[in-house]
Point group: C2
Chain length 295, copies 2
């Protein structure tokens, strides 16, 4: 199976499992459940879920064993998008071609929908009977660390701090590594945990996630000035409007492209220590996809 087929298959499996997990939550408030489903279901590329599943397979276990970890990280990703879009944060009205959560459900419910997804994600990990309590405990530690005050949330705070300021490339890289890279790394690590990978494999996986996350963000910066709202499903030109430093504003388009290519070359090298397999071939294609994606 090639990369594109695997990515689509992974997205479908994740979507199906997520829908099933959410449908079990029937005790709550209707408006809240609707707002949660609106953002957690119905698409997205599910790249993080793919990485969880593919690293599980790369390390020798069926990706189905990591399906709940894949769902958990997509829940955390969905939560972060809902909160990022809020008026007090990036104030975005559109997401994936439709009104953002707070535009559809109001700010208060959007905040609660994000909160719920963040909180439910950890229960999803610990409800996973295909992994041991020890694996689930490790998975919670990794997700908490990568998403919390020393991970993604710190990246978002640096992003706020940096508005209207010119950051150096070092500070911007630190920001991006936290805001985007931490969750990419987390995805790879969750796959490793589900497969009981070695320490060496886990270190390589974490680095792979950080580098592909960095390249992903550079591509995002390029798409923000090159693409259209119709193709991206969200507003464009935001970075210029909010006077945020980006890899493009600091390095120029050509320099940003070169930096992304460097990150991807290094990411590919992280896979050197893994045995040859279909899974490894697909992860190499995933690297190219990160560079060439159009949305």
């Amino acid at each position: 199976m090639g990369f594109k087929t695997a990515l689509q298959g992974s997205a479908d499996a994740t979507e199906k499992r997520l829908a099933s997990l959410l449908s079990e939550k029937t005790g709550g408030a209707e408006a809240l459940n609707e707002a949660i489903a609106y953002s957690a279901l119905g698409g997205g590329k599910r790249l993080r879920a793919y990485m969880v599943r593919e690293f599980c397979e790369l390390c020798g276990r069926s990706p189905e064993c990591a399906i709940d970890y894949a769902c958990a990280i997509e829940m955390v990703h969905a939560f972060s998008l809902i909160h990022d879009d809020l008026p007090a944060m990036d104030n975005d009205d559109m997401r994936r071609g439709k009104p953002s959560n707070h535009k559809k459900f109001g700010e208060a419910t959007a905040i609660l929908a994000g909160d719920s997804l963040a909180l439910d994600a950890f229960g999803t990990i610990c409800g996973n009977s295909l992994c041991s309590p020890h694996q689930n405990e490790k998975a919670v530690l990794v997700l908490s660390k990568c998403a919390g005050s020393n991970g993604m949330c710190a990246g978002q705070q640096y992003d706020l701090d940096g508005e209207g300021k010119k950051l150096g490339i070092d500070k911007l890289t630190r920001l991006v590594d936290l805001k985007t890279g931490a969750l990419f790394s987390c995805a790879c690590l969750l796959g490793c945990i589900a497969a009981s990978a070695t320490e060496e494999q886990s270190i390589a996986a974490e680095e792979f996630g950080l580098l592909t996350g960095r390249a992903f963000q550079i591509t995002d910066d390029l798409l923000d000035i090159r693409s259209t709202p119709e193709v991206l499903g969200k507003s464009i030109g935001k970075d210029i409007k909010s006077e945020k430093s980006t890899f493009v504003s600091l390095l120029g388009e050509r320099g940003a492209e070169e930096f992304a290519l460097e990150c991807i070359d290094s990411a590919k090298k992280c896979l050197d220590s893994f045995c040859e397999s279909e899974s490894k071939k697909r992860l190499l294609s995933f690297c190219d996809y990160i560079l060439t994606r159009e949305k």
Copy 2:
């Protein structure tokens, strides 16, 4: 040791351990760390932490073994207060006698501080080496369920839905059981998990939490009309202003007092099946305290 001494000792131990846990998080953004510490440290009654620790002792293990669970639930409680105070939610400017988090740090950072505390709480549970991976896994499941889309967050959504409407006593009780009771129950259950309590003990503990949570909320409603901002450290008369149904608006002051007393009588009965101990005596005093507290 009497109840008041135990409560103060528990609060001190929790505060100290929380400060230590937060100080380990030095990789993040300074403004965010400051906002987190502002709300997570510096007081509060720490009732939930007390319940975790006291139920651990009641079920036969030293409360120190449950200290990280106690910190985790206080982190989730602090997160919920930060988000509840936001302009889009209850729009409260004061909390514990000082400006609420968003008044001090701005809305965006307040949202992130709440998010961080929610996410970090689960890492705190799983970093607890005094309990087994199996215990930590159970603790995550319970906290996630009680706080997430079928627990506290659902209660907050019902609260929003109910503004300007007259709820029946059944609907108000469901709201309060989710908004307040779920986390009280969670606290008692976390103590049981840390002490490897029996199934029967855990069921009684959960019920005890729900009933004391309900009584706590009734007292809150009464204090909202009887106390002063100086004593409470937050604004009063909010319920009337936001046209929310409360136990007082539905049952009158006298009726609300009677209902709280009924809840506390039932809560005390939940302790019948536990052996006589200092811990049990203190929990009976805790019940009386819930009824008579002045802030």
